[in-house]
Amino acid sequence: MKGTYLGELEELVLLTVGILYPEAYGVGVMDEIEKQTNRSLNISAVHAVLTRLEEKGFLKSKMSEPTEERGGRRKRIFLLTAAGKRALEEANEMRNTLFKQIPRIALQFQHI
């Protein structure tokens, strides 16, 4: 397992793979990210992130059944691993912890 640090884009892709379960593959992930966050990525970037996440052990993959729309080519389907799930939880938890520590007053803008 490589370094377990989770980059921002990596986190986004990891979440999307979770959302798309059990049909997450390159183009699907790209479309979903665009739909949910309005961020348009190049397919090669998505591939790069997916392989990196797989190398870190957050994702595992298998080949799907061949479909007609890709000229009979199979898709590589990505699934979350336990480590991936933990990484997402940790990231989420850390974010919540940090958010909770913000003094209430800092979030009240009407006084300024």
Partner: protein, 858 residues
């Protein structure tokens, strides 16, 4: 409708992508493509290409699979074997290919050697990259001109003042007459140099040591000179007497003999110490010397000197207000040979860059033509092997393997051609080139590197241009089509016909050019000189004493019919003057002559009279003009007309027929005036028929009796155009050579194509023969399409050649008026000869072929 993405991008992806990633990546790319293609095909194509390029990352790339060396070698081995067998089977075509390519490669090699040689004139120099010539930029009018001359004090001052300069030599060129004991005297170029000369110029020494040149009265000379003066004797220690232009004469001891570097653009001649100049005239800022060279220290660059050079400019300007140097410039020694044309009075004499460029262009053009030839013949050869290709493909040969096979076969031919070309260049082209031009070109590149670069570039060029296309062309056939017999072979014929036409146009252009040039040369040679040049001799007599003595001696010579002295001699000197008449300026040539000169060279008097020594005014203001001079000033009655030249007023007393000044200046307007005999340079004599040589010998004997230290020079008038005629004949031979090569190449190209065509139509002709077609009929059928090509290229090539050569002739020579259609007629004959002979030779095959044999198969 189903769309497909751009094929090449898809192939590119397949080529670079890792096998285990290919499916998903290609799948994603296709999915995106299909989605976008529904909206716009163009957009989808672009997106696909973009994605393929974006996927081109190290991570996705093919890992290099280990090559099984042994099996690979076996493969190449069998390709090579097949290549050699095929070359052997189609011996005719292979020979055509090899000959064509070899000739072109030989020519390219020869001219590359020559050009490279010119660019590396100073490769013999040890310190060449640190040696610079100082040049002077001088403003003349509005124009800044660069001169090789520099103040004679500049070099020595710089050497003392600047620490960056570690060596300096001035090279002062002069003419001396040299003589060994009682032998003949010769004019020689002499270079006066500083003691550090040997540090800057590393001449190859035969014997002795150049370092001693610092002492006065020592001389170094080159091998040829040593042989000329001393024959078999050891030159070292011998005494040579040199007589300078000033009349000063001194004895010099030979201390070194060297070889003039064969490709150097600087000719040194005799080398003596600069001290000799100092005794005659002390170096000064207002005195110029021919060239100043400096050697920079290791750690300095030329730019370090710029500032200090500006300082010396001021010193120079103060001393010579009439010749103000705007700037001193540094020219690297290594570049002198190629830019010597930009420097006035340069000590270095390189070949003209335009000539080098023309040479390069012509040889590369020939190479391209022969490569195209190769492509044509190679593709034709393949027609017989279509089945082989189809079967290889059917049993699983990939396109790449077929390309590899044909590339290997082509490489075999190209390598053979390269070897043959090198041999041709060594045995034939280079010696021919040496014979033609005075320049000695060795069969070697100046460095190991440039040789490697040249051959590498050559093989890549020839291989790719002539090897790759046929290989790709062949590999693209669809096997099913071939095996069904449906392959439309010959849809490339438009291409091959185009190539052939192009070759023919080139060939005809050069043939027409050289025929016109030859005709022009013959016209120039056989032209009327305007005076009787046979049995006229001229002798140099540059001092009044020499003139008086020779004149006295020759008066008594019975072989001489008529004798005259002159300052300017027809065919040797050209003085352009601006003349004014009727308030208009004209240019004309001025000859200053003695009395009886025009009678001696037998000019033809049209009207008026010759100069008469009894008429006093003839010495001052009489002039005799040529017919074209009178025409130029539009005089109907030229006699007693007046004109002004050099602020002297002249009255015309006679008109002579136009004559040739030389072949470059044809019959430009000219006028003759009388000059006092103190200024005479020549004695000119007309002698009894056939006694020119004997008279010159007589004069030489007389000469040696009184002034043996001055070289005797006498010549027959017929020789004055010798240099020109030699130039002309060199140009003619070069042009004819190029034309021959072009004819050869186009002939070979045609031959290959005809032979292929006959193979293709053998059955057709056999059937025709059975049904009673005779040879003439088949010949007509065969040659029809080639006749069309020949006619088209004749129609284009003739005017092209005419325009081209006229441009060339006008640039250099006097244009001889267009004289008849003979050159075109001869070209037509050459063309008909090429077509009929190539088609005719192939016809023999059909005649000998038994129709039953050809038709029996299948």
């Amino acid at each position: 409708m189903k769309h497909t993405p751009p094929k090449w991008a898809d192939k590119f992806l397949t080529w670079y992508c890792r096998a285990d990633l290919l499916e998903e990546i290609q799948g994603d790319a296709y999915e995106l493509y299909e989605r976008t293609a529904k909206k716009s095909k163009r957009k989808a194509d672009l997106l696909f290409i973009w994605n393929v390029l974006r996927f081109f990352r190290l991570r996705n790339m093919q890992r290099k699979t280990p090559v099984f060396a042994s099996s690979y070698i076996t493969l190449v081995n069998s390709y090579l074997l097949a290549g050699i067998r095929n070359a052997n089977r189609h011996r005719l075509n292979s020979t055509i290919n090899v000959i064509g390519l070899a000739v072109a490669i030989g020519i390219v090699l020869t001219s590359a050697l020559f050009i490279e040689n010119q660019f590396n004139s100073f490769s013999y120099q040890k310190n060449a990259d640190r040696v610079f010539q100082i040049t002077s930029l001088v403003k003349t009018g509005d124009e800044l001109q660069e001169w090789g001359d520099t103040p004679s004090l500049l070099g020595s001052t710089l050497r003392e003042a600047e620490t960056s300069i570690v060596g300096m030599t001035r090279v002062h060129s002069d003419m001396v007459s040299a003589r060994f004991k009682n032998g003949d005297a010769f004019y020689e170029q002499v270079s006066l140099v500083d003691p550090e000369f040997a540090q800057l110029f590393t001449l190859a020494l035969v014997s002795g040591d150049l370092a001693q040149i610092k002492s006065k009265n020592t001389v170094a000379l080159n091998q040829q000179q040593a042989e000329k003066y001393f024959g078999d004797q050891n030159p070292i220690g011998q005494t040579l007497s040199l007589k300078f232009g000033s009349g000063m004469k001194d004895e010099f001891i030979v201390i070194a003999v060297f070889n003039e570097p064969i490709n150097s653009s600087i000719y040194f001649g005799l080398i003596i110490s600069f001290l000799h100049l100092q005794t005659a005239e002390a170096p000064a800022w207002q005195k110029n010397t021919t060239a100043t060279f400096i050697l920079l220290g290791d750690q300095y660059a030329a730019s370090d000197l710029t500032l200090s050079l500006a300082k010396y400019k001021d010193m120079q300007n103060l001393s010579s207000p009439n010749w103000k140097v705007d700037q001193f410039n540094l020219r690297p020694l290594t570049e002198l040979a190629t830019n010597s044309k930009q420097i006035n009075n340069s000590i270095s004499h390189g070949a003209h860059p335009a000539g080098l460029i023309a040479l390069g262009v012509i040889s590369i053009l020939l190479l391209v033509v022969s490569c195209l030839n190769y492509v044509n013949v190679a593709i034709s050869t393949v027609s017989v092997r279509l089945r082989e290709i189809a079967i290889r493909k059917v049993i699983g040969g990939s396109k790449r393997e077929i390309v590899q096979q044909f590339l290997t076969e082509n490489l075999v031919i190209c390598t053979l051609a390269t070897v043959a070309g090198v041999l041709l260049a060594y045995a034939f082209f280079l010696p021919a080139f040496r014979n033609l031009t005075p320049i000695e070109v060795p069969f070697q590149f100046s460095s190991w590197m440039s040789g490697v670069v040249f051959f590498f570039g050559l093989i890549v060029f020839v291989g790719i241009v002539s090897g790759l296309y046929p290989a790709l062309y062949v590999a693209a056939f669809a096997p099913a089509q071939i095996l069904k017999g449906k392959q439309q072979f010959g849809h490339h014929s438009l291409l091959s016909k185009g190539l052939l036409t192009l070759q023919f146009i080139l060939a005809i252009t050069t043939v027409v050019s050289s025929f016109i040039f030859v005709q022009n040369a013959l016209n120039l040679k056989n032209r009327d000189w305007g005076y009787v040049h046979q049995d006229v001799i001229a002798l140099f007599a540059t001092t009044p004493a020499q003139y008086a003595y020779l004149n006295h001696k020759l008066q008594a010579n019975t072989k001489i019919k008529s004798l005259a002295g002159t300052t300017d001699h027809v065919g040797m000197d050209y003085n352009w003057r601006t003349i004014t008449a009727q308030h208009t300026n004209y240019d004309a040539m001025h000859y200053r002559t003695g009395f009886n000169y025009l009678e001696t060279i037998n000019t033809k008097l049209i009207v008026g009279r010759y100069f008469d020594s009894q008429i006093e005014s003839d010495k001052i203001e009489s002039a005799i003009v040529t017919q074209s001079f009178a025409d130029l000033l539009s005089w109907d009655a030229p006699l007693n007309q007046t004109f002004v030249a050099d602020s002297n007023k002249y009255v015309v007393v006679g008109v002579v027929q136009d004559f040739l000044h030389d072949a470059y200046h044809s019959s430009a307007p000219a006028f003759f005036t009388i000059t006092p005999k103190e200024t005479f340079n020549y004695i000119c004599a007309s002698v009894k028929t056939g006694s020119s040589e004997a008279t010159i010998q007589d004069a030489k004997n007389d000469w040696n009796a009184i002034t043996p230290d001055d070289p005797f020079e006498g010549f027959q008038q017929e020789e004055v155009f010798r240099g020109f005629n030699e130039d002309l004949s060199i140009n003619t031979q070069l042009l004819i050579f190029v034309a021959c090569v072009a004819v050869l190449l186009s002939g070979l190209g045609l031959y290959g194509l005809v032979s292929f065509n006959i193979t293709r139509r053998l059955k057709e002709f056999s059937i025709r023969k059975i049904f009673g077609a005779n040879m003439i009929h088949i010949f007509r059928l065969m040659s029809k399409e080639y006749v069309r090509i020949a006619v088209v290229s004749f129609l284009i090539g003739c005017p092209a050649g005419y325009l081209l050569i006229n441009m060339f002739i006008n640039e250099i020579y006097v244009a001889v008026p267009f004289s008849g259609l003979a050159p075109f007629f001869y070209t037509l004959i050459v063309l008909i000869a090429i077509v009929t002979s190539t088609v005719g030779i192939q016809m023999k095959r059909i005649t000998q072929e038994n129709p039953t044999e050809t038709l029996k198969i299948e």
